[in-house]
């Protein structure tokens, strides 16, 4: 067994209910430093709920979550946590620039009333370079494509320089160029020693650097082990009935961009 200080994330008997309906039941999961874990499972299997529970966004109805050794309710080491939500409201309402949204990722390291320091601005610039959007810094977020907006969300999180990255379906509704950019970015973070928990529909471009797959089914863990042993699309497995996912449907028209003359 690992020593407790290597445990980045520890869930014991976690249960979560939304509106009285149980979503997660009696779930145990331990993630250690440097692990790169894919969370797989059909729609409604509880992946997003699990991600929101480990980032403290949803209350538990039973069990315990410890992040970096600290119970989630008392957690205050926010600079170490990097959450990338699935869908975001960043392009709604009042206009905002890409740089402004990404700067929000530095707030875990900034004090109120104090202006941004050179280190904050540098981190924002580097995060945008990492996701390939450096030349978009001053563009309005709402003029970017869905895939580019997803990369903005990842850059926002990278700007905070976290040790644990938790991503909720970073590939949902994202074009192929952005999917590749996201995979490259995460692989680089993984090589640099970051711990990654990523919700995915399929391993896809992420397969080369995922070293552990966890499959959820009806709020419980149905598989936890090397990705080679995971068969999310096995009709008897965890993902029965989820063959035609939304992101696959949306991908179709992009094939022209990659040079297939139609």
């Amino acid at each position: 067994m690992s020593s407790p200080d290597q445990r980045i994330l520890e869930l014991r008997g976690v249960a979560v209910a939304l509106g009285g309906r149980p979503i997660l039941r009696d779930l145990d999961l331990t993630v250690e430093a440097g692990d790169v874990v894919a969370l797989l499972g059909a729609n409604g299997s509880g992946k997003s709920t699990l991600v929101k529970s480990i980032t403290g966004l949803l209350p538990l109805s039973a069990g315990s979550v410890r992040l970096f050794g600290q119970p989630i309710r008392e957690f205050d080491q926010w600079p170490r946590l990097g959450y990338v939500p699935q869908r975001s409201t960043i392009a709604q309402g009042v206009p905002s620039t890409v740089a402004e949204v990404v700067s929000a990722g530095r707030l875990s390291r900034r004090r109120p009333f104090l202006p941004a320091r050179a280190a904050d601005r540098r981190a924002v610039r580097e995060a945008l370079e990492t996701v390939g959007l450096a030349d978009h810094a001053q563009h309005q977020v709402s003029t970017l494509s869905g895939g580019q907006q997803q990369r903005v969300l990842i850059a926002r999180t990278l700007a905070g320089d976290p040790e644990l990255l938790v991503l909720d379906e970073p590939n949902a509704g994202v074009d192929l160029i952005s999917q590749q950019a996201i995979a490259v970015t995460l692989e680089r973070s993984a090589r640099a020693g970051a711990t990654i928990v990523v919700v995915l529909h399929e391993l896809g471009a992420f397969a080369p650097f995922i070293d552990r797959a966890v499959i959820l089914r009806e709020g419980r863990i149905a598989y936890d082990g090397p990705p080679e042993g995971a068969h999310p699309h096995d009709p008897h497995g965890a993902d029965a009935g989820a063959h035609c996912t939304e992101d696959q449907v949306r991908l179709a028209p992009i094939s022209g961009v990659l040079g297939e003359d139609l």
Partner: protein
């Protein structure tokens, strides 16, 4: 002819109008981002109860309005955050309770009904020195907090869940914005009146959104628009016999109407200028000439709106119909 602008009552009016014009859109930017554009209206209605309490008890109506407005604003935020009522229903509940309560209280105050008028419709030309100091101080506090806490307020208004995971206390910032909105309404009620207060919070922001690309630039442009509208409105009402409050709001609306067409054009040009991403892979084979394929709806090539025409993505290029051939865009 210009003398009237330097009369003491006019100097006070212009000073109050300028500060109101700067402070209101600063808070308004956060309210618009959070889809609470009508919050100013709600707080304005609650403030009627506050003003009535002041008139009834003989204390300063501004002071009682500030207190009641803050209580109301926090109540709206609490109702919204607890999920017991959605934002707009929460507003409506407090909205009408405040207005009805105020009218009831004023009816007990005898001739208070007349005094209430100056708060409902504004009375910027009858400000006392004390009024100017109180509202000036409040406006400066509002402006200072809106600008110095911009990164935090922006993050919370832009993506609440994410802001939580960076350790920001979302409820504290939301309540703080509500309190700032309440203070602004109390300041602006003497300038434009409680019935029109929301206009100064929202219209300059709508105007600024036409031009600005960023949140900060929207807020600063909205503050300039608010300042211009407020001062212009007061100056017009000094020469023409029209009420200053409604003049300010109409000038602000005229500013929006004049800039709206420019905003539409700018928005389209901006979309067209976003760099088009190309895969770095080597599939850049040249398009055969002459171009045999007829691009059109449903031709299989992704269509992209590009300014006034449509481009078709073909082998990683953008093809635009031009006469009998295609241009690379």
């Amino acid at each position: 002819m210009l003398d009237i602008l330097f009369a003491p009552f006019m100097v006070k009016a212009l000073f109050a109008a300028a500060l109101t014009g700067l402070a209101s859109p600063a808070v308004g930017t956060y309210l618009v981002q959070r889809k609470l554009s009508l919050m100013g209206d709600g707080i304005g209605h609650i403030s009627v109860t506050g003003v009535a309490l002041g008139l009834l008890t003989g204390t300063s109506p501004t002071l009682t309005a500030v207190i009641v407005a803050i209580i109301g604003a926090v109540a709206i935020e609490a109702l919204r955050a607890s999920g017991r009522a959605s934002g707009d229903v929460a507003l409506a509940l407090i909205f009408y309770g405040g207005l009805a309560g105020g009218l009831m209280l004023v009816s007990f105050a005898g001739n208070g009904a007349l005094a209430l008028q100056s708060y409902l419709f504004g009375s910027i030309t009858t400000l006392t020195n004390e009024d100017v100091w109180v509202s000036g101080t409040l406006a400066i506090v509002v402006i200072a907090l809106c600008l110095t806490l911009l990164p935090q307020f922006f993050s919370v208004a832009n993506d609440e869940d994410y802001a939580r995971t960076t350790g920001l206390s979302v409820p504290v910032y939301n309540v703080l914005v509500s309190v700032l909105a309440a203070l602004t309404v109390s300041v602006a009620m003497r300038t434009v009146g409680l019935l029109l207060v929301s206009a100064l919070l929202v219209i300059p922001v709508a105007t600024a959104q036409q031009f600005a690309r960023g949140f900060r630039s929207t807020m600063l442009a909205a503050m300039v628009a608010g300042l211009l509208a407020s001062v212009t409105g007061v100056v017009i009402s000094a020469y023409v016999d029209v009420p200053p409050g409604s003049t300010i709001v109409l000038v602000a609306l005229a500013g929006f109407a004049l800039t709206a067409p420019i905003g539409v054009v700018l928005g389209k040009r901006r979309l067209a200028r976003v760099p088009f991403e190309m895969p770095s892979e080597p599939e850049q084979q040249r398009v055969e000439e002459p171009h045999r394929h007829q691009h059109g709806p449903g031709c299989g090539h992704p269509a992209v709106e590009h300014g006034d025409h449509v481009d078709y993505i073909h082998n990683g290029h953008r093809h635009a119909v031009h006469g009998g051939h295609y241009d690379e865009h």
